[in-house]
C-alpha cells in the first residue's frame, strides 16, 4: 500500500517530506508539492487504510499543513487521487479505474502533442482514456500511450524511488573522563575506526581522507586531517597514521570527546601483473612515510622538485608518490655530481691575478692546482632578494674538486660543494 500527500497550498510543500518521514522510512519526493510513501506494515500500528489516512490527516492538521491525502495499492494511483480529489481519498484495490475515472486528463501530465491529439479525439477524462483499446493506443501513440492508459486505469506499477539519506560516515564518542595521554585515546580511536571501516565495507566503499576533531578541556578543539593518495580500507593502517600524526601534533589539553569522519570514495581497483616493476604498496608506504616524518621531520621527507629558476639550489619538497609519471627517463650516462654543503661553508681564498690560488674552509685546506672560471651568474634583480655571484671550479693539490663562489654583495667567498 502507498500513501500520497499533495500540498493544497504552496507554503505547506516544504514540510511534506518531514511529515511523511514521521510515518515511513521509504519516502519519495515525487514533486515539489507531492510526496509518496510506502505504508506497508503501518497497519500493525494504526490499523486499516482508513486509520492510517486519518493518522496522516491528524498529524498534518497538528503541523498546520493543508494537504490532500490518498491511499492506493500502487504509487501512481495514490498520486493521481491526491492530486485530483480534495481531502482524504481511499482508492479501493482492484477498482482503481472506476474511482479515478472522473479525473481530468491534465492530472496525468501528458506531453503537449499527445494532450492535443487526445483532445481532438474527444478524450478528456480518465475513464474515457481507460475505455480505449490498448492495442490501438500502442499503434497510434507508442509506449507513452500505453503508460498513460495504465495510469488512467490505476494499474501502472513501478518501484518507489525513496529519498536516500546523505552518506555520512561519522563516529562520535564522548568520554566519561578527560583523556590526557595518547595511548588510551588510541584504544578509543581503534574502536571508532573499526566501526567506520565496517560501515564503509558494507557499502563497498573505502576512504582517502580521515578527519579527526577532538573536543578539549576548557572549550578548545583540536582538528587533524589525514589524506591518503589512494583509497584504503584498513583500520590498522588508519590507526597507525592517526597515532603518528597525533604524536607529531599532540592536543594541548585533556580530551573530552572525539569525532571521526571518513570521506567515502570508491575503492581502488588494482590488478597486479607479473611484469610490473617493483613498487611500494600504497598502504605500507603511507605508514612508512608517516614514520619517517616522525623520525626526521615532515619537511625532510618527499620527492625533490626543481624550480624554474636559475637561483642556485632551488628546489622544493613534494609529497612522495603524488605524481609519479610512468614514462621512463633516458639514462644520460655517468655525470659528475655536486654534493651541496648546506649551508655553504665560508671560505678564505687567496687570489693572485684574479685567480684563486689557495683555499681554506672548514675541513678543506690546500693550494689550488687547477681552476676554471669565473662563471658569473645573477638573477632576481627585480625582486627584494637579488643575487649575483662568480663561481669557480677548483681542484686542490690532493685532487679534490670543489665549487667555490664569491658573492658580489660583500665579496665573501664560500665553498658551495664538492664534486663527486
Amino acid at each position: 500500500m502507498y500513501g500520497c500527500l499533495h500540498a493544497a497550498e504552496p507554503e505547506s510543500a516544504a514540510s511534506l517530506v518531514a511529515l511523511a518521514q514521521r510515518f515511513s522510512p521509504r519516502v519519495e519526493a515525487t514533486a515539489p508539492d507531492t510526496v509518496t510513501l510506502d505504508i506497508a506494515g503501518l497497519e500493525l500500528l494504526y490499523g486499516g487504510p482508513h486509520e492510517i489516512a486519518a493518522a496522516l490527516a491528524r498529524t498534518a492538521a497538528r503541523w498546520r499543513i493543508r494537504a490532500n491525502i490518498a491511499i492506493a495499492s500502487n504509487p501512481d494511483a495514490a498520486i493521481c487521487a491526491a492530486r485530483g480529489f480534495a481531502g482524504l481519498s481511499l482508492v479501493p484495490a482492484g477498482d482503481e479505474a472506476r474511482f479515478l475515472g472522473p479525473l481530468p486528463l491534465e492530472a496525468l501530465h501528458p506531453s503537449p502533442e499527445i494532450a492535443d491529439l487526445l483532445a481532438r479525439w474527444g478524450i478528456r477524462r480518465f475513464r474515457e482514456l481507460a475505455a480505449l483499446p490498448e492495442r490501438g493506443l500502442v499503434e497510434r501513440l507508442g509506449p507513452e500511450g500505453v503508460r498513460l492508459h495504465k495510469l488512467a486505469r490505476g494499474v501502472f506499477e513501478r518501484p518507489l524511488v525513496p529519498l536516500e539519506e546523505p552518506l555520512e560516515f561519522v563516529e562520535r564518542l564522548e568520554f566519561d573522563y578527560p583523556v590526557e595521554q595518547l595511548e588510551p585515546l588510541s584504544f578509543l580511536l581503534a574502536r571508532m575506526l573499526n566501526t567506520l571501516v565496517a560501515r564503509l565495507g558494507s557499502r563497498a566503499l573505502a576512504t582517502n581522507e580521515l578527519r579527526l576533531a577532538l573536543k578539549l578541556e576548557g572549550g578548545g578543539a583540536h582538528e587533524r586531517v589525514i589524506r591518503m593518495p589512494v583509497p584504503m580500507l584498513d583500520a590498522r593502517v588508519f590507526l597507525k597514521l592517526l597515532q603518528l600524526d597525533l604524536e607529531a601534533h599532540p592536543p594541548q589539553a585533556a580530551i573530552l570527546g572525539a569525532l571521526l569522519e571518513a570521506m567515502p570514495v570508491k575503492p581502488r581497483a588494482a590488478q597486479a601483473g607479473l611484469f610490473i616493476p617493483l613498487a611500494p604498496e600504497p598502504e605500507k608506504l603511507e605508514v612508512t612515510l608517516a614514520r619517517l616524518a616522525a623520525v626526521v621531520g615532515e619537511g625532510n621527507v618527499g620527492s625533490p622538485e626543481l624550480l624554474d629558476t636559475h637561483r642556485p639550489d632551488a628546489f622544493r619538497m613534494r609529497r612522495f608518490g603524488e605524481a609519479a609519471s610512468g614514462a621512463p627517463v633516458a639514462c644520460a650516462g655517468p655525470r659528475m655530481a655536486l654534493r651541496v654543503f648546506r649551508p655553504a661553508r665560508p671560505a678564505q681564498v687567496a687570489v693572485v691575478k684574479d685567480r684563486p690560488v689557495y683555499l681554506r674552509a672548514e675541513g678543506i685546506r690546500g693550494s689550488v692546482a687547477g681552476a676554471a672560471g669565473p662563471w658569473r651568474t645573477s638573477g632576481d634583480w627585480w625582486t627584494q632578494t637579488p643575487w649575483a655571484r662568480d663561481e669557480w671550479d677548483v681542484a686542490l693539490a690532493d685532487g679534490a674538486l670543489y665549487r667555490i663562489v664569491r658573492e658580489h654583495a660583500g665579496g665573501r667567498w664560500f665553498v658551495e660543494g664538492s664534486y663527486d
Binding site: L292, V296, N300, G302, A330, C331
Partner: protein
C-alpha cells in the same frame, strides 16, 4: 673416504637419495656505467653493497647512475641523505627520475639515517635504497654497531631491493656482499690554464674489494656545465 662413498654414507643417514642444491644466482641491478657493469655485473639485489672512497672519487656519480638505471626500469629509489648534501639538479642531469625518488634528509644524524633506512627497507617496494654516509664524520659512522648493519642486511635479504651505503671507508664488514672502492684518477680540463679553462669531468678508478679477487675498472664522469 671418496666422494662416492661419502655420498652413499650420507644417503644411508638421510634415508633417501642425496642431491646437491645450489643457491639461486644473485640478481644484479646494472649501475648504468658500462665499464663497471662489464666487470662487476652490477649491484646485487637482496644484499648490502658498500661504495667507498674519499671526496671527489666518483661515489655520487656511481650512485646517481645506478638510480637513473633503476628509474629507467620504472623502479622506485630511496636516498637517505645523512648530511643533506644531495643536489637534485645534478641528479636530474644524470637522468634520475626525481618523481620516483624518495629523499630523506637526516640533518647530519647517523642514528636517524639508520632508523630511516630500516623503515624504508622494512616497508619494501623500492628497487634501490641508498644510505649516504659520505659526508658524515667518521666518528659517527664508526659508532654504528655491527648489529645495526646485520639488521639491515637481514631486512633486505630475500627481497629485490639493492641496499647501497656510500661511505669514505667500509664499515659493514661481513654484512656487505659487495664492496667497491673508488679512487680519483685525474680531473679533465680543457683550454689554456690561464683563461677559458673548463672542467670537463674526472676519471674514476673502481676496484672491487669484496668478494676478493682483482677486479678493476675505470670510468669517466662528465661535468654538467
Amino acid at each position: 673416504m671418496g666422494t662416492a662413498a661419502l655420498r652413499k654414507h650420507l644417503e644411508t643417514i638421510t634415508g633417501g637419495p642425496f642431491a646437491w642444491r645450489s643457491w639461486p644466482e644473485t640478481e644484479l641491478l646494472p649501475t648504468g656505467i658500462p665499464e663497471v657493469d662489464a666487470r662487476a655485473g652490477g649491484l646485487p639485489r637482496g644484499a648490502l653493497t658498500e661504495i667507498c672512497g674519499p671526496a671527489s672519487s666518483g661515489r655520487t656519480s656511481l650512485m646517481l647512475a645506478a638510480m637513473a638505471r633503476a628509474g629507467a626500469c620504472r623502479e622506485y629509489c630511496a636516498l637517505i641523505d645523512t648530511a643533506g648534501v644531495f643536489d637534485p639538479r645534478s641528479a636530474a642531469e644524470a637522468g634520475v627520475a626525481l618523481d620516483r625518488l624518495l629523499w630523506v634528509r637526516c640533518g647530519g644524524d647517523a642514528e636517524k639515517a639508520l632508523k630511516a633506512a630500516d623503515l624504508i627497507v622494512q616497508g619494501g617496494g623500492f628497487g634501490l635504497v641508498v644510505l649516504d654516509l659520505g659526508d658524515t664524520p667518521s666518528s659517527s659512522v664508526r659508532r654504528i654497531s655491527m648489529t645495526s648493519w646485520f639488521r639491515l642486511r637481514r631486512a633486505v635479504e630475500h627481497t629485490r631491493t639493492v641496499l647501497a651505503a656510500v661511505e669514505c671507508i667500509p664499515h659493514a664488514g661481513t654484512c656487505a656482499s659487495l664492496v667497491l672502492e673508488l679512487r680519483r684518477a685525474e680531473a679533465g680540463w680543457s683550454g689554456a690554464p690561464g683563461c677559458s679553462r673548463l672542467l670537463e669531468g674526472m676519471r674514476v678508478e673502481v676496484e672491487r674489494r669484496k668478494p676478493v679477487g682483482q677486479l678493476r675498472a675505470s670510468f669517466a664522469a662528465l661535468a654538467v656545465r
